[in-house]
Amino acid sequence: MQEKTKALKAAFPHTIPILTGFMFLGMAYGIIMESKGYHAGWTTLFSLVTFAGSAQYVAITFLTASFNPTAALMMTLMVNARHVFYGISLLEKYQKAGKYKPYLIFGLCDETFSIVCSTKPPPGIDQTWFFLWITLLNHSYWVLGSLLGGLVGSLISFDLQGLDFVLTALFVVIFTNQWKSQDDHKPAICGVVCSTVCLIVFGPNRFLIPSMVIILLILSGWRRSYLEKYELVEEPIP
């Protein structure tokens, strides 16, 4: 039991930016859903079972138009296609998670991924529990934010415009951290340049999948030189 508490103490500080971002975005989501006639119960259920901010925002379109499950599925797959990259990145890290693995994969939203892929638990902390707490805390922030937004959102009169930037800032910090910790910047540059070019060419609603395909092609092309550079013949570095 003490091991789990220690893991929680180690995990919580990493989730503070997400607590801020999810409270804000979750509440905003609850308020919008409420305004469309979907009360707090629906919003909470949706956030609990789906746990995917952008897909849930997009789904408002499908909840307020005529019933169209096929379009909803296609749109969700397009919006969330980037999660495939997260899974490939975490195959190794989540390998030993045992019975908690399905939940860890379920909770793999952008924010959870960004923390898990860039953070190692401190020495003496159980890795699975560390990642489990991060996922569980993020999940509960999102559900709680949605619930509060649906219940009391309309009573809030502070001007919080721009607070959603907290999540962008989180990803920028992680990007900078990765940049400092690596001497090979090519994968990071590839990610930014390919997606920026695709964003300009295909526009905000269609750029994700072309970006992913081009990133995969370019990274595949670099494989040989990467393996030579790091002389990866035997056991890979964890």
């Binding site: 990493h14 503070i16 469309k36 629906w42 259920l45 949706f46 079972v49 746990f51 995917a52 897909a55 849930q56 499908f62 909840l63 499950p69 599925l73 749109m75 969700t76 797959l77 969330n80 980037r82 990259f85 997260y86 899974g87 990145s89 975490l90 195959l91 390998q95 994969i105 952008d110 991924f113 892929c117 860039s118 721009g162 607070l163 930037f165 907290v166 999540l167 962008t168 800032a169 990803f171 920028v172 910090v173 990007f175 900078t176 990765q178 690596q182 994968p187 990071a188 540059i189 590839c190 990610g191 930014v192 390919c194 964003l199 905000p204 970006s211 990274l219 990866l232 056991e235 890979p236």
Partner: protein, 108 residues
Amino acid sequence: MTLTPVETLITIGIVTLGTMMTRFLPFLLFKGADAKNSYINYLGRVLPYASIGLLVVYCLKDVNLKSPAYGASEAIAIFCTAASYYWKENTLLSIGAGTVIYMLLVRL
């Protein structure tokens, strides 16, 4: 509510299904592929860096470059976040400072 409760439940189920397909797919597809030096192993090493780059751009996808500010608020706030982190390596300080700067800039 535009949809009936049953239609709403189905729509929520479909969005959940779609999301979980994208999250579980790699783990189901490459279940046994832990061979050293495999192609997937290589991707697992380089993709985290490319993915965070993609994610930063994804966050900025709706920035309107045709607005009077030309995305300057975002650019300045991102620069401050990255530069302060590069210098001090304090995650919460950089995120807090970047967000406060952004919230001030969008009110100018």
